[in-house]
């Protein structure tokens, strides 16, 4: 295994050398990223604008396959670090910060007033009181629903958990899955858990739980699962065997009514034939009215590698990406939300709804379970969430397993 990774790192290194040798006359910024085709086009436009403003800097973007990037990053950061690279906020960047692979960019934050303009994401970019990158986009999570199905059974869009559960009875009577999800890749189940817990116990509890400060066998966690158990029978039965896109198809076809998902799913719903008239979005219903509403909005970020060849120009690039006008254009193309408070958002109704939702959140904005919790804990916990949705009677065994994992992982 070790040899394999070293050789892969070497191959990347040779490829990168060839690239940098070709562009010797300008100062080069090497940028590694993992964009899908549509975001890639948006980013290439942003990079073109940057190069127009800074003609002496040439940004060389090397795009990786999205899944492969998660493995490749560990190789190239040690073997041949680029100047700039994409990653995620929250605990997801902690291993690299702790291993000294990301550069401290607190000076960029201080110099360009990012503590004010990017305030909503400042907490999730901060480790040990310093900032380690710049966020450029985020998107809301919530419940996407099929309006036609709601009309068909005569259900009202719910605001409280009791209403939501009552609706589920209506859908079940009509043979429709009240809530759908596809947990083959595990993470969609974590979205449901996060909202169950944010609505039952609130943002502080979410952060404490993902930082390992609360026992999984605690009464508060059990309350979350008790609320979840009320809708467990109404969740698509075969969810463990299907991917999230398959579950999206169920919603499109009217075989399911609701789907807890991130805003990126809108593109999939619309490809399936849904329109702004048939697809609806609502915030996750209130469970405990005493808990201030908190939301989930995973943030995507850009970092400077600790071994960067050209950290000065890389800082210029980060400052550029943090600018309000840049984030406005970029996110209009991405179909997501800018972080900069001075940016404006597009007129897509789902983007508007997300902007409204996040900018009025009183409780706090969480990243996502697998970004707030350490990777190992995320893996064990998400398996537990999946099992709970299949075998709710195993709850005690699941929670004890998670608690044992917590005591090992956070020691």
């Amino acid at each position: 295994m070790k040899h394999l990774t070293r050789r892969a790192g070497l191959a990347i290194g040779i490829a990168a050398l060839a690239v940098s040798a070709a562009q010797a006359q300008q100062r080069t910024l090497r940028y590694y990223a993992d964009f899908d085709p549509a975001p890639l086009a948006a980013f290439e436009a942003a990079i073109a604008q940057f190069e127009a403003e800074h003609p002496d800097i040439d940004v060389v973007l090397q795009n990786f396959d999205h899944e492969g990037y998660k493995t490749a990053i560990r190789n190239f950061l040690t073997a041949d670090p680029p100047d700039l690279l994409n990653w995620y906020a929250g605990n997801r960047m902690a291993p690299f910060v702790e291993a000294g692979q990301f550069m401290d960019v607190s000076d960029v934050w201080a110099e360009h007033g990012l503590h004010e303009s990017l305030a909503s994401a400042a907490a999730s970019m901060t480790i040990d009181g310093r900032q380690w990158g710049v966020p450029y986009t985020y998107y809301q999570w919530g419940i996407y629903y099929n309006r036609s199905v709601y009309e068909q059974v005569g259900a009202q869009v719910p605001e409280t958990w009791d209403q939501f559960v009552a609706n589920c009875e209506l859908f079940a009577a009509a043979g429709i899955d009240c809530l759908t999800t596809g947990t083959r890749a595990l993470w969609p189940g974590a979205g449901i858990f996060d909202y169950m817990n944010l609505r039952t116990n609130g943002y502080e509890h979410h952060m404490a739980l993902t930082s390992g400060e609360i026992a999984w066998t605690d009464e508060t966690v059990r309350n979350t699962f008790a609320n979840w158990a009320r809708i467990q029978p109404f969740i698509t039965a075969s969810h463990a065997a299907i991917d999230w896109q398959d579950a999206a198809a169920l919603l499109v076809q009217g075989q399911a009514a609701n789907y807890v998902m991130g805003n990126f799913a809108v593109a999939v719903f619309k490809e399936g034939g849904m329109t702004n008239e048939t697809l609806g979005f609502m915030p996750f219903p209130t469970i405990n009215p005493d808990v201030p509403r908190a939301e989930e909005a995973p943030t995507d970020t850009i970092h400077i590698a600790a071994g960067a060849q050209n950290p000065e120009d890389a800082r210029t690039f980060l400052a550029f990406m943090a600018r309000a006008d840049v984030q406005t254009t970029l996110n209009a193309a991405l179909g997501q939300l800018p972080i900069n408070s001075g940016s404006t958002v597009g007129d897509d109704p789902f983007i508007q709804a997300g902007f409204e939702l996040l900018s009025t959140t009183p409780g706090g904005i969480a990243q996502f379970f697998d970004r707030d919790a350490p990777a190992e804990m995320a893996q064990v916990a998400m398996e537990g969430f999946q099992q709970f949705m299949v075998q709710p009677d195993q709850l005690d065994a699941i929670l004890e397993r998670l608690e044992a994992a917590r005591q090992r992982i956070y020691q």
Binding site: K2, E67, E98, A237, A240, A375, Q379
Partner: protein, 305 residues
């Protein structure tokens, strides 16, 4: 002249030891490769399994802590149990392959085509086999899903059912493996001595007795190879698990090789030491079988098979 004398003595040393050295010289490249790519990684894995290492930071010495954790890890026992199920059920490929080989070992019109069709599953990639079977079992549109619904009246998504999922994957694995065993037996059947069959027939043997006492003993080498490749195939079953379920639902279809990958290299893993400890356990299990095979081969060679 001293120089000439030296060459003289060198040459004679070479001449004296030539017979002894030549085999080693021929073996040297192979041994170097084997040492570098097989022996060294095995030792390295043993060594790594004593550390806590995430692939980035410093290694931290743990001693046998990884193993202590492994033997208390429920997921490890699930994987081990699944490996045993794989091992037992996968061996069905040997008799099944033999049956098909016997059935196809006749001379009728178009038999080559039938043989090719039966061999086809082994030719296509395991990835494709995994995908085909995933669709076959898929809830709502898979033929198997509908068939089960029609027979039992229940909606059973095999790959989402923790009790059935391993059997579902093994069934997918058996498909190409049976074809593989079949081709081994078909070539073996070509070498069955016709005079012995003739003699047995004259003595009145037919049916099962003919198969058991005359044909099968002559198929011994083919059977041996079929068992070896099937056992090793069962132990390293990784691709099908990875493609069809990623070890799910909640880890109930994991096997040791997949668990090792998940711990050491997957998105949420990077416990290299723990993964190496699983690899060591898997290696020791395989070693039991491999030593058995080698011991048998050496014995056979001495007896002159």
């Amino acid at each position: 002249m001293p120089a000439a004398h030296q060459t003289q003595s060198k040459r004679s040393w070479w001449r004296a030891n030539q017979q002894r050295l030549t085999p080693w010289l021929f073996l040297a490249p192979g041994m170097a490769m084997f040492g570098l790519y097989v022996i060294w990684p095995i030792l390295d894995s043993f060594w790594l399994s004593l550390y806590d290492y995430d692939g980035l930071g410093a290694k931290e010495w743990l001693g046998l802590e990884n193993y202590r954790e492994l033997f208390a890890d429920q997921a490890f026992y699930t994987s081990l149990k699944n490996n045993v199920i794989w091992l037992v059920l996968y061996l069905l490929a040997v008799p099944a392959g033999l049956m098909i080989a016997l059935f196809l070992n006749q001379t009728v019109f178009g038999i080559r085509l039938y043989k090719s069709l039966f061999f086809f599953p082994f030719v296509i990639s395991q990835v494709v086999v995994g995908l085909i079977f995933s669709w076959f079992y898929a809830p709502r549109f898979g033929p198997m899903y509908h068939l089960l619904e029609w027979i039992t009246g229940q909606r059973i998504a095999i790959l989402a059912d923790p009790d059935l999922v391993t059997y579902g994957i093994i069934a997918a694995g058996l498909w190409p493996q049976i074809a593989y065993c079949m081709i081994l037996f078909l070539t073996g059947l070509n070498n069955v001595a016709p005079d012995q069959v003739e003699a047995a027939r004259l003595d009145g043997a037919k049916g099962w007795r003919m198969l058991w006492y005359v044909i099968l003993p002559q198929l011994r080498p083919a059977t041996f190879i079929a068992v070896v490749v099937t056992i090793i195939g069962a132990l390293r079953s990784f691709d099908l698990v990875s493609i069809m379920t990623s070890g799910g639902p909640f880890g109930s279809s994991r096997v040791l090789s997949f668990y090792m990958y998940e711990q050491a290299l997957s998105e949420y893993g990077y416990r290299m030491g723990y993964g190496a400890a699983i690899a060591v356990v898997l290696f020791l299990i395989m070693m039991v079988f491999i030593s058995g095979f080698i011991w048998k081969m050496v014995r056979d060679e001495k007896e002159g098979y």
